[in-house]
Amino acid sequence: MKTVDARGLSCPQPVILLKKAMGSKENAYELIADSQTVVENCTRFAKSQGYNVSVNDNGGEFKLSITK
């Protein structure tokens, strides 16, 4: 499973990275983020590409499980 590390990045960079990663059309990705904005934007991008997203908040560090 591909992991996108979006920590320290500001929008729209994380969405760009996720979009690039999704070029491989896998069924599952993981994204690590450290801001709510990145979580929301990446969730919306993943959903627009037909993925489901679940978010795990680990005290300010978020892990997004993105699956088909």
Binding site: S10, C11, P12, V15, I16, K19, S35, Q36, T37, E40, N41, C42, T43, R44, F45, S48
Partner: protein, 307 residues
């Protein structure tokens, strides 16, 4: 104007018939073309004077440039500023530039207004209609362009850039012929943020009629893809608890209501029975404008988002 009402500029009365308006705004490049950037920065800085009901007359350049920036680029930025200022009838008489890591450009602008004609952003009255000029969604479109320029239709992007470089002068000239109670320009806080300031300052509530607004339709698609500037989320946070939205409008349209604008349009409160005539005059003057909602007595929330 006082410090408590978050007005667009400072106003100082120097005689019975003249008050001075002072304002400044500047930011780092938001477009690649330096000439266009200069124009947008100038249009944005001058806008506050129009929002106060004044006529801009003088300006000073405010600029920082990294040592690495070539002189041609610097000259192009300044040329954009001068040309836009000239269109506004503003003379740039000088300014100041320092070295810095990031380039920044803007203006400190001086304008004049009759003390009785000052438009504050906190004088909307129940029964007023709200008119909004320019289109919303430019923050989302420029964010999408930053992510991947190929994703944005070039004509749409050109239109967004042209709009950001458009002076609010023409809208202000039309507005001057009506009994406008209150005005502000839409910038970083987005439509909801600035409307919220107007509602709070005026001790009223404001109803925003979302589906009648002018906005870039492509911004809906990009919002659904998560290409939303962080500022839009901040604006949502700032206004939390002050906004009631039971409209059922799509989330993407809601995002557009919170989208921060660079050099956005004017939000004008005027008597309801003058709204149609004002919109007609705006159209005749080539100004993009629409009815954005209406003002009521203060209710439980500052802002009501409706269909």
């Amino acid at each position: 104007m006082g410090y408590d009402k978050s007005d667009d500029a400072s106003v100082y009365k120097i005689s019975e018939d003249t008050a001075v308006i002072n304002t400044t705004d500047f930011f780092p490049p938001i477009v690649d073309d330096p000439y266009l950037f200069g124009q947008i920065a100038a249009a944005n800085a001058i806008s506050d004077v129009y929002a106060m009901g004044g006529v801009p007359k003088l300006a000073l350049n405010v600029m920082t440039v990294p040592k690495s920036l070539d002189m041609d680029t610097v000259r192009e930025i300044l040329r954009g500023g001068y040309d836009k200022a000239m269109e506004a009838g503003v003379i740039i008489t000088g300014g100041h530039t320092i070295n810095s890591e990031e380039p920044i450009y803007g203006l400190a602008v001086t304008g004049f207004v009759h003390p009785d004609k000052v438009l504050s952003n906190s004088a909307a009255r129940p029964g007023d209609a709200l008119i909004l000029t320019k289109r919303l969604g430019t923050g989302i479109i420029t964010t999408a362009a930053k992510a991947d320029a190929d994703m944005v239709d070039s004509q749409v992007l050109e239109s967004v850039y042209a709009q950001m470089a458009t002076l609010n002068k023409y809208a202000a000239e039309v507005m001057a012929d009506f009994d406008v109670h209150s005005c502000t320009d839409i910038t970083g806080f987005g439509l909801v943020g600035h409307a919220c300031e107007m509602a709070m300052g005026s001790a009223t509530s404001i109803h925003i009629q979302a589906e009648g607004l002018n906005y870039y339709k492509d911004a809906m698609e990009f919002a659904d893809m998560g290409l939303i500037p962080a500022g839009a989320y901040n604006n949502r946070d700032y206004t939390k608890g002050k906004v009631l939205n039971e409209s059922g409008i799509p989330l993407a349209l809601e995002d557009i209501l919170y989208d921060p604008q660079t050099s956005g349009g004017l939000l004008i409160a005027l008597p309801m029975d003058q709204a149609e005539a004002c919109l007609k005059r705006m159209a005749a003057a080539g100004v993009t404008a629409c009815k954005a909602g209406f003002v009521t007595e203060a209710d439980d929330y500052e802002i009501y988002i409706e269909k």
